[in-house]
């Protein structure tokens, strides 16, 4: 913006301020769900044995290297011998074992911990070696390990996880002012592979996207982690002092329909909905055209991505026919929309499009997270909803058994299991199959893939093009020279 400080101010700076929208309520993702905590802490403060790079590849993190046994059940990780926790303790195999056993214990209440249920046993042959044996072969597990379930804790550092984070990452939490900001300080004793550039990184939280944009314009923040007001990108693009990065995330904006009950248990009605919706129009109006049409539950950064946008082409005539066939003409249903900008925006336009095909959506806004999670997600008392499923590789969760989509998961279970246990090739193919089945079953609408819309001072470097993991890694960030 015109009032910004411009690139010049970036010279020689050793700190950076990043604006984010969703704020962590505390620092403990083991008991608190939500994307904000891992976004801030993973890879920066906590590390797993592995991490995901920009291309979606698994890369070493705390583990220098690993080997997979021939039966594809046992992973043997060689830990970085120099790794230390921010309290000075070295990172040992015992710590890893402690951490991962803790995930499946009662201490963890974050339901994502279930991803580690597959572990059969953890051995620590020596101080720097960990051998993890799975119950069955799994292609996805290593990938999952890069997420928060793989975070390695110091046994001395878990007393007050909500307020103090002791991790092995390149940064430590210098201060945490709830609702306002999280300040990271670079660790001088960090010996790992991804040391940070900047001395201080501040995450500042803005519930309101416009306030964040204003803050960037007036030079109070340097980066907006993900601009939630896409209409403003044009303005920033036109401004030489700012740069705009448009990439992808793992977040599929899913138009969920209750497959198990009510109006949408009838597949014809779901199909009608998918024919009736013009995803491009939704994307254009709701999110300023920023984002990608995917047609399925898999982002392009995943190995098993396939463009499924042509499965349900927009065809109002067809949709009307299907509605007719199902006898759903003029039916009313409740469209429970979480109180989130993209969701409310999408819902309005979707509702209007559904009206065209003879379905009457009664939009009911539900507060997010509290009410939406309880009523729509947990109690599943809903007909249609829309939400961004932001976690990486979450297709099997969202369409898994007992999830709020109500999808008949038996239709993909076997394929998915086989894929997971099979070779890498089989995995890719199998998962493609799963994704296509889900789309073809009209299990849900896939409105668009949430964009990674980063706006930053033109001098900031190392901004991630795509958000492939749950973390917003800050170690790469820096200021361009000159």
């Amino acid at each position: 913006g015109s009032g910004s400080t411009g690139t010049a101010a970036g010279e020689g700076r050793t700190d950076i301020v990043v604006a984010h929208t969703a704020e962590p309520t505390n620092l403990d993702f083991t008991t608190t769900s939500g994307a904000a905590i891992p976004q801030a802490l993973m890879e920066n403060v906590y590390e797993s044995l592995v991490r995901i790079d920009q291309n979606g590849e698994v890369q070493p993190a705390l583990a220098d290297s690993w080997e997979l046994s021939d039966d594809r059940l046992t992973y043997t990780f060689a830990l970085d011998p120099d790794a230390t926790f921010s309290n000075g303790d070295p990172v040992t195999a015992e710590d890893v074992k402690f951490s991962y056993e803790r995930v499946v214990s009662d201490e963890w209440t974050n339901a994502l911990g279930a991803k580690m249920d597959i572990i059969d046993s953890i051995e620590t042959p020596d101080e720097h070696t960990v051998a993890i044996t799975l119950e069955r072969p799994s292609n996805s597990w290593l990938f999952e390990l890069a997420s928060l379930v793989g975070a390695v804790f110091s046994p001395d550092g878990v007393d007050d996880l909500a307020n103090t984070a002791v991790g092995s990452g390149p940064y430590e939490v210098e201060s945490f002012t709830r609702g306002q900001e999280l300040v990271f300080a670079k660790r001088d004793d960090y010996a790992g592979s991804n040391p940070g550039d900047l001395e201080t990184v501040t995450f500042r939280y803005f519930a309101d996207a416009v306030a964040a944009a204003n803050a960037l314009k007036s030079g109070q923040v340097d980066v907006i982690g993900n601009l939630q007001a896409p209409e403003l990108t044009e303005e920033f693009e036109a401004d030489d002092a700012t740069q705009v990065i448009e990439g992808t995330t793992n977040g599929e904006v899913v138009l969920s329909m209750n497959n198990a009950e009510g109006l949408f248990s009838d597949q014809r009605v779901r199909e009608a909905v998918l024919h009736g919706i013009d995803e491009q129009a939704v994307l254009d109006t709701a999110w300023g055209g920023k984002g990608t049409l995917i047609g399925g539950m898999v982002p392009p950064t995943d190995p098993y991505y396939e463009d499924l946008t042509d499965v349900w082409p927009t065809d109002v005539e067809k949709a009307r026919e299907l509605i007719d066939e199902a006898g759903a003409e003029g039916e009313s249903f409740t469209f429970t929309v979480p109180s989130l900008p993209y969701a409310q925006a999408s819902a309005e336009i979707v509702a209007a499009q559904l009206k065209e095909i003879g379905l009457n959506a009664q939009i009911e806004t539900q507060e997010f997270p509290a009410v939406w999670i309880e009523q729509t997600m947990t109690e599943k008392s809903y007909d249609m909803s829309v939400v961004n499923h932001a976690e990486a590789r979450d297709i099997l969760t969202v369409f898994g058994e007992g999830y709020y989509t109500g999808y008949d998961s038996s239709r993909i279970e076997d394929t998915a299991l086989a894929a997971d246990e099979g070779t890498e090739e089989e995995y890719t193919e199998g998962m493609k199959d799963v994704a296509r089945t889900i789309t073809e079953d009209a299990a849900a609408g896939f409105l668009f893939l949430f964009p990674n819309l980063i706006v930053a001072d033109a001098g900031v470097t190392g901004l991630p093009e795509n958000m492939v993991s749950d973390a917003f890694a800050i170690a790469q960030l820096g200021w361009s020279e000159g």
């Binding site: 009032g3 769900s33 339901a111 002012t177 519930a207 309880e374």
Partner: protein, 314 residues
């Protein structure tokens, strides 16, 4: 003295009644706190365990007494959601709100007293009509609109002040003040408009008072009579209104806090509500209610300082 004791007793009774009301109100809050704390994929057992951990399974009277006893020690407990003690959170945020609101009110009064007096004295003249017209319009402007306009003009446009954020005074006076200016004016301008109207009518009222005529009969000019005898009398109704406004602003500032991303108590309340942070909501509501009650008490006391008639209980 008896009147003072009496007023204090009444205050304490009201505070007690408020604790009951607030506690009862919180019991009807849907969105089970334990459920929210347990997270997306929690099982009923998880929820039950968390309930037990937070003591939510105890009988209500026990929970109430426990809560009140805690408050008496200045301890609002530990949030189920943030896992952090609530008291420091409230202490920090109320401080922000108080600074914001009190400064705004002071600025508003500084604007309103002269403007309102002029508007009253020049009633029927163009300037007087202009001032009262402006104050009418000012009252009709929502303060968040004022806030947005101020940001556009002075932050994004002229770049004089930051558009958002807060800096505590100890981190540097300059930063503190520059962050304070816009929110204070966003609140103060609208408040000044409201108060100007009250000052104007209080001054008009006082201008009709016989004792002003007496003062002139004693040899004061009209202006000096107003300054020496009138304004203090006019202050009494204005103080009441300013007090009520101040009380309203404690929560009312939330809109401006949101626009400027200030960590005030109103913003904390909204955040706590969104997170279904029951204990924090309860604590903040209680603190706000008590502050309003304290404010009312202070106004009453101030009244008796200002007005000897009230002092002697006549």
């Amino acid at each position: 003295m008896a009147a003072l004791l009496n007023r204090l007793l009444q205050f304490l009774l009201t505070v007690w009644a408020a604790t009951v009301v607030v506690f009862a109100l919180m019991q009807v809050l849907p969105g089970n706190a334990a459920q929210v704390a347990a997270g997306l994929h929690a099982t009923p057992e998880d929820v039950a365990r968390i309930e037990a951990e937070f003591g939510l399974d105890r009988p209500l009277p026990v929970q109430y007494l426990d809560w009140v006893a805690g408050m008496l020690r200045g301890d609002f407990g530990v949030s189920y959601v943030t896992h952090a003690p609530i008291t420091p959170l409230i202490a920090d945020s109320i401080q922000v709100t108080l600074i914001l609101v009190v400064t705004s009110m002071a600025v508003a009064l500084l604007l309103a007293v002269p403007l309102g007096s002029i508007a009253a004295l020049l009633r029927g003249k163009p300037l007087g009509a202009l001032l009262s017209g402006l104050s009418q319009v000012g009252v009709a402007v929502p303060n968040f609109l004022a806030a947005i306009l101020l940001v556009m003009l002075f932050s994004l446009g002229l770049g004089w002040f930051p558009s958002s954020g807060w800096q505590a005074p100890i981190e540097g006076m300059g930063g503190f003040l520059s962050h304070l200016v816009l929110p204070v004016f966003a609140l103060a301008l609208v408040q000044a408009a409201i108060l100007t109207r009250y000052v104007r009518s209080a001054v008009l009222e006082v201008l009709r008072e016989d004792f002003l005529r007496t003062a002139r009969a004693k040899g004061r000019t009209a202006w000096s009579a107003l300054l020496t005898h009138g304004l203090r009398n006019a202050a009494i109704p204005v103080v009441t209104v300013a007090g009520v406004q101040l009380a309203t602003l404690l929560v009312g500032a939330v809109v401006v806090e949101q626009v400027f991303v200030l960590p005030g108590i109103g913003s904390e309340l909204i955040r706590a509500v969104q997170n279904r942070d029951l204990l924090t909501v309860q604590a903040i509501v209680m603190v706000l209610v008590v502050m309003v009650l304290v404010l009312n008490l202070l106004i009453d006391l101030l009244y008796s300082v200002l007005d000897p008639r009230v002092r002697s209980g006549a």
